[in-house]
Assembly symmetry: C2
Homo-oligomer: 215 residues x 2
DNA sequence: ATGTCTTTGTGAACGCGTGCACAAAGATGG
DNA sequence: CCATCTTTGTGCACGCGTTCACAAAGACAT
C-alpha cells in the first residue's frame, strides 16, 4: 500500500508539516501513526471534500479569443468540470462548433442554464457586457462566476465571484521585480523595512502586496 | 483639489478604513488631516511604489489560442506593460502578425530577451514544453514568469513564478458551491465548524481553501 | 508478548495581521 | 487668532493562524 508521510508532503508543497497534518485532521483521521497516509485513500477524501467527485456543469459566455481558448482547455474535464454550453451574442457564431461544442446564442441563456442545472458560469465577454451577462446568469440561477472581463461585478449576497486579471498578475511580478532591482540600490523615499514582508523566495504561491488598490 | 477620505476608499474597496490608512502610511504621510488624500497625488505615489510608472517589456511564449488572446488583451498596455515580442516554436507562425505584432521564432528567444531588456515572461505553451521554455527564459535573464501551462515550474532562487490555473479557480468556486448546497443538509462526516472559516459573502477577494493540495 | 521506532493528531504558545480608539494635525469659519 | 470639526496616523489589544513539541497510536522486529 503506497503511503506518504506528512513530512514528505510538506516538503513537496513547501509548507510546515504540522500545518499540513492539522489541515488534514479537519477532514478526519485518515492517517496511520508510524506509517503515514494511504495515498489513494487520502486523494479520494480530499477530492470528495473539495467537491471534485461530482460533476460540475459550467457555461462559458463570450466565445472570442479568450473564450475559445478556455473552451479548448483540457484542464477542465480532468477536474470534474464539464462544459455544458458555449454562449455568445454574435449570431454569426451561433451553431458553429468551438472545441467540438456548438455555440449557442445568448437568447437561450436562461434556458440553457436551467436545462443543465448549471451553477457555475464563466464570463469572457468584453468589459462593457460583463455586468449585464452576469445579471442574467444570476437571475437564471448561477451562483458562482469566474470573471475574465476587467470589471468589478456586483452581485447579490450568496453569489461568489472570482476575477482573473492578467494585468494584476503582471503587476505583482513587476512589484517584486522592482524590489529586486532596487534592493541594495535603495536610496530615496524607500519603503520602510516593515512593509517589505517576507521575500517570497520563489516559493509562496501568494504574493505579498498591499491589500488595497483603488480602481 | 479632488480628495478622498480613507473612509470612502475603504467602503469602496470593502475593507477596514484603519487598515487602509495603515497600509498607506507605509508609503509615507500623503494625507491631509481633516481633508483626506489628494487623489492625483495618491494615485501617483501608489503607482510609483507598485512599479507602474516604469515601462515593463514582456514576452509571450506560445502563441496558440491562449497566447493570441493574451496578445490581444488591451489591459496590458494600460498598466505599463508593453508586449516586446511574441514567440512561438512553430515555423508556420513566424512572421505572421498577431494583434499587430509579428511572431518571432523561438530560436531567437535569447536574443529577443537581451535586446529588449525583458525581465518578465509569459508562458502559454503546452505543458510539456513549459519547463524547457522556462529554463531558456531564465537563462536569458528573465526573473519573473507568469505561467499558464498546467505544470509546476522549478526555477532557481531569485526568480518569481506566478501560475494562473483556470481549473483551480473553478475548484474554489465549486468548493464554495458545494458548501452552499450542503449548508443545512449537513449530515454525514461533515467538516467541523472550525474548518468552515468565514463564509466569504461575495466580498473577500481571496478564497478560503485548505492551503495544501498534493499534485 | 514486549520493546522499539516512526509518525500521527493536537494542546498550547507564539507571532502577526487586523481593528479599535484616540491624540495630533490641520482646515475652516467666526 | 481662537474654536470647532473633520480626518489622519498610530499605539495597543485582540483574535486567529501558524508552529512547536509531545503524548498516543500503531507498525514491525525480536
Ligand atoms: N483576464 C485576462 O487575463 C484577460 C485576458 C485577455 C482578455 N481578457 C478579457 O476577456 C474578454 C474577452 O476577450 P477576447 O479577447 O476574447 O475578446 P473578443 O472580442 O475576442 O471576444 C468577445 C466575445 O464576446 C461576445 N459578446 C459580446 N457581448 C456579448 C454578450 N452580451 N453576450 C454574450 N457574448 C457577448 C462577442 O461576440 C465576442 O465573441 C475581454 O473583456 C478582455 O478584456 C481578459
Ligand atoms: N491557465 C489556464 O486557465 C489555461 C487556459 C487555457 C489553456 N491553458 C494552457 O495554456 C497552454 C496553451 O494553450 P493553448 O490553448 O493556447 O494551446 P495551443 O496548442 O493552441 O498553443 C500552444 C502554442 O505553443 C507553441 N509551442 C509549442 N511548443 C513550444 C515551444 N517549445 N516554444 C515555443 N512555443 C511552443 C505551439 O506552436 C502553439 O502555437 C496550454 O498549456 C494549456 O493547457 C491554460
Amino acid at each position: 500500500m503506497p503511503t506518504v508521510s506528512s513530512e514528505e508532503l510538506a516538503a513537496a508543497a513547501g509548507v510546515n508539516s504540522a500545518k499540513l497534518r492539522k489541515d488534514f485532521s479537519y477532514l478526519g483521521s485518515y492517517g496511520t501513526r508510524g506509517v503515514g497516509y494511504d495515498v489513494e485513500y487520502l486523494v479520494y477524501q480530499i477530492s470528495r471534500e473539495l467537491g471534485l467527485t461530482q460533476d460540475w456543469p459550467v457555461v462559458i459566455v463570450g466565445i472570442g479569443n479568450l473564450g475559445a481558448a478556455l473552451a479548448n482547455y483540457g484542464g477542465f474535464a480532468s477536474r470534474g468540470f464539464r462544459v455544458a454550453a458555449l454562449i455568445d451574442a454574435d449570431p454569426a457564431l451561433a451553431g458553429k462548433p468551438v472545441a467540438g461544442i456548438p455555440v449557442r446564442h445568448s437568447d437561450d441563456l436562461e434556458k440553457i442554464i436551467q436545462d443543465n442545472g448549471v451553477s457555475i458560469g464563466v464570463i469572457a465577454t468584453p468589459a462593457g457586457a460583463a455586468q449585464q451577462v452576469c445579471d442574467r446568469l444570476v437571475a437564471a440561477g448561477v451562483t458562482s462566476i469566474l470573471n475574465f472581463a476587467p470589471t468589478v461585478l456586483s452581485v447579490p449576497d450568496g453569489v461568489d465571484v472570482r476575477k482573473v486579471d492578467l494585468s494584476i498578475e503582471l503587476q505583482i511580478l513587476a512589484f517584486h521585480e522592482q524590489r529586486k532591482a532596487g534592493e541594495e540600490a535603495a536610496a530615496d523615499g524607500a519603503v520602510p523595512a516593515t512593509a517589505a514582508r517576507k521575500q517570497s523566495a520563489g516559493k509562496g504561491p501568494d504574493g505579498d502586496m498591499p491589500a488595497v488598490m483603488p480602481a
